[in-house]
Structures are given as structure tokens and as C-alpha cells.
Amino acid sequence: MVIERRWKKWVFFYVPLTLFLVGMLFPFYWMLITAIRPDAELYRSWRNVHNTPFWTLHPTLDHVQDLLARTMFPRWLWNTFFIATVSTGISLFCGLLAGYALARLKFPMAGTLGTAIFVTYLVPPTLLFIPLANIIRNFQLGDTPWALILTYPTFLIPFCTWLLMGYFKTIPKELEECARVDGATRFGAMARIIFPIAVPGILSAGIFAFTLSWNEFIYALVFISSPERKTVPVGVVSELIRGDIYFWGQLMAGALLGSVPVALVYSFFVEYYVAGLTGSVKG
């Protein structure tokens, strides 16, 4: 009996889990291998006898050094970090207030507005950058970080609002009512009772927003032109692919290094993240 159960656990748990993990992580492994593979091996033919597609015998840090020395990679990292942080901050602030209003205050159209927020996702972003570019030009923000800090909230705020609205709905009203009976104003109760309780939701929304802005590509590509002002995704792609010349290893090195900050941020908050998502949908 016991033996049969162990067998079952392997088939229904360990094997699928391993398959999933391999599938999820293999591309990263591939990038890593490409990043540390010497050029000579990288551009060798498939049929070469000494071919080792899945590992390398001569790992090298050349590509990484190249990336750091020849491009402005550290600078891009800083730009991306700055833009992502500021636009996440703005979006969280707006989202907190709006989410609270939609979840808690009774006013006509609250439901409609809640839906409308979701509908902003329907307009395909495909061509929006053309008119947006006009706006940026009019405000003379072209080629500055502010162009992105202004535009990113347009897609971050709806998500933050919606996530936080759901989260606020799961917090019992009594908590707030109690505070108000004890003498707090509505805003006081909101800031001192509800927001602290909503910390998992806020963190979750924050991570979400941070990841989205860290990964954004199109606006960053269109609105920023000077190499020293670029963000990581755009910088890596546009500076390392020139026409038909690829800096293959550097590209992969940049791709790996560029995602480290987000992965770090995320790894600290996995639990909060799941908790926040849960609250936001249930409500």
C-alpha cells in the first residue's frame, strides 16, 4: 500500500512539477549559457564535432565586461529604477485614494466607474503612442524621464485601483466604523486604520506596477532617444542590435542582469503578493 502511494506521488506530483520547472527555467539557463559562451563557440556550425549545445567548456565573462564597459548599462539600470519607482509611487497614491472611494463611499455611478476603469484596458495600445507623442512634444518632455513618468501611470493606475478596490472590500467595515465612533475623521480612519491593514494589497499592487514599468518597452522606445537616458529593455535591444549585427552574448548578459532587481524585489514579497491578489479578486 505504502509503496503504491509513493509511486503515485511521484507520478502526480514530482514528475509534473519537475517538468514545469524545467520548462520555466530552461530559457534562463539558455540565456546564461549564451552569455558566458565564448564567441568562437557561439558562432560555430551545428555539425561541428566538438559541439556542446547545452553547456560550454570555456565559460567567459567577456560579454558581461563588454556590456558594462562598452554600453551605458549601469546608467540604464539607474534610469529604469528611477522611472519605475516614481511612476509606481504616483500610481499607488492615486490608486489608493480611488480604490478606497470606489470600495467604500456610496455614490451614484460607483459601480459604473469601477467597470469603466477596467474598460481602459480594452483600447488596444497599438497606435496610442502616436497621439501620445504629440502630447509629449507639446509639453516639451521628449527625451526626458518625465515623458515616461507621465505616461506609465495611464496603464498602472487602472490596475492599482482595481486591485486595491477589491482588497478594501475584504476589510470589514466595522474596523473603520469603530475608529470613527472613537473620534477619527473619515480621512483619519482611512489613513490610520484601513491603509495599514491593506499593506499586503498595497505591496502587491506596488510590485505589480513596478514590474510593469520595469518591463515597458514601446513608450520607452518612442519617447527616449539619447542612449544615456534609455531604460534597460530599450537600451539592451536598441544598442546591441544594430541593423543586422548582433552582440549576441552581451544581449543575453544584459537580459540576465537587467532582471535581477525585479527578481530581488519580488523574492522578498512572494507571500504578500499572493495574499494581495487573493483579496483583490474575492472582493
Binding site: 506530483f13 509534473p16 512539477l17 514545469f20 520547472l21 520548462g23 520555466m24 530559457p27 534562463f28 539558455w30 540565456m31 563557440e41 557561439l42 558562432y43 556550425s45 551545428w46 559541439n51 549545445p53 492615486c94 490608486g95 485614494l97 480611488a98 472611494a101 463611499l105 467597470t115 481602459t120 480594452l122 483600447v123 488596444p124 497599438t126 497606435l127 502616436i130 497621439p131 507621465l150 501611470p153 495611464t154 493606475i157 487602472p158 473619515r186 480621512f187 518591463n215 518597452f217 514601446i218 534597460v232 529593455p233 530599450v234 535591444v237 548582433y246 549576441w248 544584459g254 537580459a255 537587467g258 532582471s259 525585479v262 512572494v270 499572493v274 495574499a275 491578489l277 487573493t278 479578486v281
Partner: protein
């Protein structure tokens, strides 16, 4: 009342303030013959752009729509299936679950634009690299079967599944954990077949989460398509709605039809959204 509007104001200013003009511009442009290649003011042409799209085969609207539907439907289904499987695997705590969770979520955390390049160029190697022969053979087989550009589209699909399944999995895991454990326990007591348990209990209980996961995977699927066109400098030539709109607008300079084309996505998406909302919150089940 006043408080409500005060609280909503910052969000409204940031979103509507910035987006109102672009959205209006796109809607208006779809009714004109605006083009940077033509001097003079744009002329209002009514619904002609839309009619042209539907009737003139030059625009490849119907094949593009079909390909889009197939792409979004296929990747959506696979993402949902993989994500659900992942969520159910991770449902019970085990040693090292936090690490597995982190690993599973990495593809989503990873910058999409860079990952797309990695994927795209890995599957379509531009140079003579160690495995380009194999990739070329595959490409030829797929393109031969479905038409030129199909392999590129498939690689985008693969990328989208990789990235989307990770997100769907974590999202549904949140859902699984939100359902009181008693409900699953009871099913384990009463239902002999795991398969039926899955259909009669797990799926209905997760309905709101499933609905949202579907919606998010739809929109990200479309967004990925658009991204790839930009990233590959238009090498994904297989016609899909998003890329056709880019091509028309940016390359061919026909902004009117391009705007019309990208707006054709709105009604079907709205319909899907409406249907999903009804699933999330069926009216007859509201508490009395």
C-alpha cells in the same frame, strides 16, 4: 459625495487627462483619411475605412482576424491549462514551495521585451549559430504548412505561453488559497474520481479567478503580438490584427484604416469582458 470626487480626482486626472486625447484621436482618425504622406487637412470619410477593411482583400482583414483569434484562443487555452495545473500542484504546502513559487514566477517578472528577443532569436537564429540548422528545418516545415511567417508567430505564441502560464499559475494559486479548505476537504471525502472533483468542485469554485485570468491572458496575448512586431523590425509578417495595424499606420502611413483596424478589437473584447463579468458575479446569486 464631495469626498468621493476628491479621492477620485488624482486618478482621473492622471488617466483621463493623459489618455482622453489619444483615444479620441484614434477614434476620430479612424473616420478620416489622415496620412503623413498626403499634405492638406485630413478629410472626414465616415465609415469608409471600416467598410474598406471588411471588403477590400488588400487589407487582409479577415485572414488577420482569423489568425488573431486562433493565436489568442490557442495560447489562452494552453496558458489556462498549464496555469491551473501549476496552481493545483502548488496547492498543498511542501518543503521549498516558496522557492518553487519564485522560480515559477520568474518568467513573468522578467522584462518581456528582452525575453521576447531571447525567444524569438533563439527560435529564429539570425546567424550561423550552433543550432541554426535545426531551427531552419523546423521553420521550413511550419512555414510550409501554414504560410510564410507562421513559425515566427508560433515562436511568439510559445513565448506568450511561457510567460503567461507563469502568471496564470500564481494568480490561480491565489484563488485556490482563497477558497476555504473545507470545501476541497469535503470533495475529497465524497468524490471518488479526481477528474469529476476537478470539474464539479475546483472549476466552479475558482470561477471568478478563472474569468480574470482569461481576460488578462487575452490582453497580454494581444500586447505581445504588437511588441514582437516592433522588436523584430516587422519581421513577423504573418498577418494578425495588431501587427497589421502597425504596418498600415507606421510603415504604409495609412493612419485612417490603421486606427479603424485596431479599433475593431474593442467590441469583441468588450463582449468577452461582459461575459466574464457575468461569470464572476452572476446576478441571480447576489445575496438577498
Amino acid at each position: 459625495m464631495v469626498a468621493a470626487w476628491l479621492l477620485l480626482a488624482p486618478a482621473a486626472v492622471m488617466v483621463a487627462g493623459v489618455l482622453a486625447y489619444p483615444v479620441a484621436w484614434e477614434a476620430w482618425t479612424s473616420l478620416t483619411d489622415l496620412s503623413p504622406q498626403r499634405s492638406g487637412p485630413a478629410r472626414f470619410v465616415g465609415l469608409r475605412n471600416y467598410v474598406e477593411l471588411a471588403t477590400n482583400p488588400v487589407y487582409r482583414f479577415w485572414p488577420a482576424a482569423a489568425a488573431t483569434l486562433a493565436f489568442v484562443g490557442l495560447t489562452g487555452a494552453v496558458k489556462l491549462a498549464l496555469g491551473l495545473g501549476l496552481a493545483l500542484l502548488l496547492q498543498r504546502p511542501f518543503r521549498g514551495r516558496a522557492l518553487v513559487l519564485l522560480a515559477v514566477f520568474l518568467p513573468w517578472v522578467y522584462p518581456a521585451s528582452v525575453a521576447v528577443i531571447g525567444w524569438y532569436w533563439t527560435l529564429n537564429p539570425p546567424l550561423v549559430t550552433s543550432y541554426s540548422r535545426l531551427a531552419a528545418d523546423l521553420k521550413q516545415a511550419v512555414d510550409g504548412a501554414f504560410g510564410s511567417g507562421a513559425w515566427a508567430l508560433a515562436s511568439v505564441g510559445l513565448f506568450n505561453v511561457w510567460r503567461g502560464a507563469a502568471f496564470t499559475g500564481v494568480f490561480l494559486l491565489a484563488g485556490v488559497q482563497a477558497v476555504p479548505a473545507d470545501l476541497f476537504d469535503y470533495a475529497r471525502l465524497e468524490c471518488p474520481s479526481p477528474w469529476r472533483r476537478f470539474w464539479f468542485v475546483t472549476v466552479p469554485l475558482l470561477r471568478p479567478f478563472l474569468a480574470l485570468a482569461v481576460f488578462l491572458s487575452l490582453t497580454t496575448g494581444l500586447a505581445d503580438l504588437a511588441n514582437v512586431w516592433m522588436l523584430t523590425g516587422g519581421r513577423v509578417v504573418f498577418p494578425v490584427l495588431g501587427t497589421e495595424a502597425y504596418w498600415l499606420g507606421v510603415q504604409a502611413g495609412q493612419l485612417g484604416p490603421a486606427a479603424a483596424l485596431s479599433l475593431t478589437l474593442v467590441p469583441p473584447l468588450a463582449l468577452v469582458l461582459w461575459a466574464l463579468f457575468r461569470l464572476v458575479d452572476p446576478p441571480e446569486e447576489r445575496p438577498r
